[in-house]
Amino acid sequence: MAITVDARGLSCPQPVLMTVTAIKSGGSDEITIMVDNETAKENVCRAAVGKGWTVANIRDETDGCGITIKKR
């Protein structure tokens, strides 16, 4: 089951910390992280790739964007 993490409105490094925590929890092979700024988007993608995951999709929405990452 896919996990969704809402990191909107939070400043760095919290979006990355939440992403890493979700990855470590091992609960899912697919996680969607909601962020609302470019810096968090870049940092979350960089952290996911660093952990050996792939960025499967980045979906722009009115109040931010959803980054879907998948376990490789």
Partner: protein, 364 residues
Amino acid sequence: MEGFKNFFAGRWGIISVGIIIGVLAPLLQKLGNPGNMGVCVACFVRDITGAVGLHRADVVQYARPEIIGFVIGSLIAAFMFKEFRPRLGSAPVVRFVLGAFAMIGALVFLGCPWRAALRLAGGDGTAIFGMLGLIFGIWLGTLFLKNGYSLGRAQQTHFTAGLMLPIFMAGLLFLTLVYPQVSGQAKNEMLFYSLKGPGSMHASLIVSLGVGLLIGFLAQRSRFCTMGAIRDFVLFRQMHLLSGFIALIVTALVFNFLVGQFHPGFQGQPVAHTMHIWNFAGMMLSGLAFCLAGGCPGRQLFLAGEGDGDAAIFVLGMVFGAAFSHNFGLASTPKGVGPFGIQAVVVGLLVCLFIGFTMRKRIA
């Protein structure tokens, strides 16, 4: 435009920004800025505080155009790349307090992380203790982050709210242009200008402003942050921001060496003292405060330029801290710490620990 945007977010982007700052900062020193102070965000915000008379230390009063450029340059980049996002409301008063104590700590050491790097690159051995203190303070901050420390979410706000600090800086630039320094006078109708000391040493307005704008622009694109550099390495073993910070130090070192600005030693370094414990402790306080606030002083200026009202509050906190430091003897001088510098560091650490321990919530 997209390729340009992606370039600065990448590894070589951040390294090239570090190299560019590593050239420009010592160049500003060559062109008139104080020793090992080509760029110092804390010192320069303090100088601005003095220029508008909020403190009366007559050796550190000058409306530094670099700082104005940092904010406006970031604003320009944010508008160009559609990243201007007015936001506010993540514990602003706590950010104000953190800004004040970050400044107080920096003025005990005599420099922010930017200047700690430039002091190292100029051969100032006393900066080693400051740099170690910075790393230790940031490490302390990461312990809080790991345990759920959070200042909470920011909200989207009015366009105008995001413009407050850029407007303040534009106003300061206007005053500087309308009320330029009168030779030999410490004050014109509006602004204070140091006649001696570090505040009297500066590159020309146009050069300082131009360099500030360029650095502001590049730093907004690359998210350059000296605190984040160390924090991300400690937290995630991530080298991204750190590679930019190291590039800055190495480039500045080489540049200083080539132009004869490298003077290795511990004694008699420009605008520095040799009370090593307090060099360490001052920067430890700063590092902790920056970490709890999510960015080094430069990054706070760049964030304020892209509409982050909480970062703007942090900057105003730094102004408050600078005024306090110089009005009440907290700031160090080349002779050593000020009469109340040690007490201020202890109080600052207690306040930061209180904030760190109490502002927690489950983030997972």
